[in-house]
């Protein structure tokens, strides 16, 4: 699996040209945005709502095994769509241009994480400081060591277990992410500020728990167990899926991490290059791409976070061609191979050292 990646070093002029070509791809795509894009998102929303209603409905008959399986599957599909294709993309402001109030960036998704908190930690912090160790807290989520430059301590030895727990309870991991508990532990953030940020999480998380684990089971009366079980499993399926896709975005073998000095006076071309080198794609068919919320095109998403994600596959062809011409590696692969390298990284960095320190991007 390990092959040596050669990226051609780019001069300042080449980097500027690189940036302009990527800008052009964006301009060309944005000029074409229209009814088809909005129709796609509305179709996804209808699919999401329809599968939720059907799923929850079937779970009321969940004492029959086929109904339980189908109901849980449909509810899982609905939650995955809400988290990935609909929630993540709408919350990025990808559909602000439509001026449709139903598609505003302030959309609230069906997980424990409050939208505002996520928009701060993700839209702003993660996308601006992508893969910069010490600034992008998505690098390890404060509990895992995912970059060689992260200092090792014995606690990390158990990180495969933390990763498995994070995957299982991912919606809570994401909800607690913006609290910046790692900063609080180190004294960089006051505990009062943590409490202030925790209150909306408590509210939203509480609502989610009440909805999935109290309200709907209670509505089923004596048949509450299949409903409860179905809801638990659907949330679990969504958590595992989201974790897997998201971790494949930045932690595959050849995804690069960067030193904080990179951000000072970073030009647009540099920023594009850092987004490219820090991200990795997944190959698949159209259904796969939709289920990943087009995060299978993590590279395109990081180059163009506010362009409607359904456009990424067509943009990818041009981006790939530009990368080739400028001698830059385009990190892509099948799901299982890429996911395998993510776990390899988790195990590798659980140990001190790294077996080959990655040079900081220059």
């Amino acid at each position: 699996m390990s092959k040596t990646i050669h990226n051609k070093p780019l001069s300042a002029i080449e980097l500027e040209a690189f940036g302009r070509e990527l800008d052009q791809i964006r301009a060309d795509t944005v000029a074409q945005l229209g009814q088809a894009d909005v129709d796609h998102m509305r179709r996804m929303i209808r699919l999401m709502r329809g599968s939720e209603v059907a799923g929850r409905g079937l779970l009321f008959l969940g004492f029959l095994p086929p109904a339980w399986l189908a109901g849980t599957a449909l509810l899982s599909l609905s939650k995955i769509l809400d988290n990935m294709e609909v929630g993540h993309n709408v919350m990025h402001g990808q559909y602000e241009w439509t001026r449709d109030p139903a598609l505003k960036g302030s959309y609230e998704w069906d997980t424990a994480c409050p939208g505002d908190a996520w928009r701060h930690s993700h839209n702003y912090m993660h996308h601006t400081f992508t893969n910069v160790v010490g600034k992008d807290r998505d690098v390890g989520y404060g509990i895992l060591r995912m970059a060689d430059d992260q200092r090792w301590h014995p606690g990390f030895l158990l990180q495969p277990i933390y990763a498995a727990l994070l995957a299982t309870f991912f919606q809570w991991g994401v909800a607690l992410h913006d609290l910046e508990l790692d900063y609080a532990r180190r004294g960089k953030k006051s505990w009062r500020a943590v409490w202030r940020d925790f209150k909306p999480v408590l509210r939203k998380g509480g609502r989610q728990v009440a909805k999935d684990y109290l309200l709907f089971p209670l509505l089923a009366g004596p048949m509450f167990l299949p409903v409860l079980a179905g809801n638990v499993v659907a949330n679990l399926v969504r958590n595992l899926w989201a974790f897997s896709i998201i971790f494949c975005g930045h932690f595959t073998e050849h995804a690069e991490m960067f030193d904080a000095s990179v951000v000072d006076g970073e030009t647009r071309g540099h920023w594009y290059l850092r987004q490219l080198r820090g991200s990795s794609n997944l190959e698949g068919n159209r259904a796969f791409h939709i289920l990943t919320g087009h995060l299978s095109h993590q590279i395109e998403h990081h180059l163009y976070p506010d362009v409607p994600a359904a456009r990424y596959p067509e943009m990818a062809e041009r981006v790939r061609e530009v990368c080739q011409r400028y001698g830059q590696h385009y990190n892509t692969g099948g799901f299982w191979p890429q996911f395998g390298t993510v776990w390899a990284r988790i195990f590798r960095l659980a140990l001190p050292g790294s077996g080959g320190k990655q040079p900081a991007y220059a």
Binding site: D23, A27, L33, G34, Q35, A36, D37, V38, D39, R42, I45, R46, R49, H92, G93, E96, W97, T98, R99, D100, P101, A102, G105, E108, R119, H120, N123, Y124, H127, T128, R207, K211, W271, P305, D306
Partner: protein, 370 residues
């Protein structure tokens, strides 16, 4: 009709209660009902088109039955229509040309504008039975409870739409009090509501109607030429002493308004399209003002720095994030003015737009909700 309305409000109240509990969102419910072809909604005023009438070449009336969420307009007011064209929602205001007696139906009369996105969409796509999304009802062109002198209504082209409603409201309230309507048009076939107004004149002898035709040969009883201030005084020497209600194209209204103001007349008018702000190149941008409506501050605008930087220089602390146009943290409302996108060069001069201030620079006077 009454029982129908009560039933709707009962469901509406239930739906709104469900929405407050957090179990459903208004958007989800509204789009479901729209999908099913119903105008019922929890948060979106919506109407069904029940009739379409062509009033004149390029002028079409749409009779609408709104749902319970639309505030009833006063005579002279407009309602906002929202139309989706190529994925983007556009809103425009149209005066309600129907009368109190027509309720619950409302009529808007739309003139097809040569490059009009919304008027074209309405003319080409809207059919009887379709659902139309609506926005706010508003407008300050209203009839006060009592008038000091017999009112004078002056309308040109589609300006007759609010005037018609005001006129009939006035006549109903005071059927014997004299009222004058001057309707101006280029050609006879462009006179909107001709038949209705003649009918009105027959019912209310106190109504004096004068038609001013500038293009065609004027018929008996009508006046030829354009309605200039001088012409107005010739026709009605006491014009400036009466409360005046004007509506029509800006070019028609401006000379009359200027003359009226100079004469100290009581003027009520409404512009259909606000004048577009002037767009100025950054190098020539001198003396343009940046207004921060929320904090009451102003600053001299420069055309090169982002609005975010200029707001910070003026002492404000707007929310921001990436400062490069990606994360939407700095998005705020531009109530008016022209701005240039620093990344693409695109100019946005429409009012009431949300813009990312980290990548927008002034291209003229700008007012922000900051």
């Amino acid at each position: 009709m009454q029982a129908d309305h009560q039933k709707t409000t009962r469901w509406l109240r239930l739906g709104q209660r469900l929405e407050r509990s957090g179990l459903v969102t208004a958007n989800a419910v509204d789009s479901c009902f729209k999908q099913l072809g119903s105008s019922f909604a929890l948060g979106t005023p919506r109407a069904r088109v029940v009739n379409i009438v062509d009033e004149a070449p390029g002028v079409r009336s749409f009779w609408l039955r709104p749902n319970a969420l639309l505030k009833a307009p006063q005579p002279g007011q407009y309602l906002t229509v929202i139309v989706e064209v190529d994925g983007v929602r556009h809103s425009r205001c149209y005066s309600v040309s129907s009368l109190a007696g027509d309720l619950p139906l409302l009529r808007i009369t739309v003139k097809l504008q040569p490059n009009g996105v919304v008027s074209t969409a309405l003319h080409q796509r809207l059919r009887v039975g379709d659902l139309l999304d609506l926005g706010d009802v508003g407008g300050a062109l209203l009839l006060p409870p009592a008038l000091s002198a017999p009112p004078l209504f002056i309308a040109a082209g589609s300006g007759i739409t609010p005037i018609r409603a005001l006129l009939e409201a006035r006549l109903r309230r005071s059927p014997l009090a004299p009222v004058t309507l001057i309707q101006a048009a280029r050609r006879y076939n462009e006179l909107i509501f001709d038949a209705e107004l003649s009918d009105l004149q027959a019912r209310y002898p106190a109504l004096q109607m004068i038609r001013v035709i500038s293009g065609d040969a004027a018929r008996d009883g009508d006046v030829a030429g354009r309605l200039t201030p001088g012409r107005l005084l010739q026709l009605l020497p006491d014009a400036w002493a009466r409360p005046l209600y004007l509506c029509g194209p800006a070019a028609f209204m401006q000379p009359l308004l200027e003359a009226g103001r100079e004469a100290g007349a009581e003027l009520h008018h409404e512009y259909f399209a606000p004048p577009r702000p002037a767009v100025i190149e950054s190098a020539a941008l001198s003396g343009a003002t940046l207004t921060f409506a929320g904090s009451g501050k102003t600053a001299i605008a420069n055309g090169d720095d982002s609005l975010l930087a200029q707001a910070e220089a003026a002492g404000l602390k707007p929310a921001y994030g990436c400062r490069m146009g990606i994360c939407n943290s700095c998005t705020c409302r531009k109530s008016s003015g022209a701005v240039r996108n620093l990344l693409t060069g695109e100019i946005d001069d429409a009012p009431d737009r949300d813009i990312r201030i980290c990548i927008s620079a002034p291209a003229g006077d700008v007012t922000l909700d900051l």
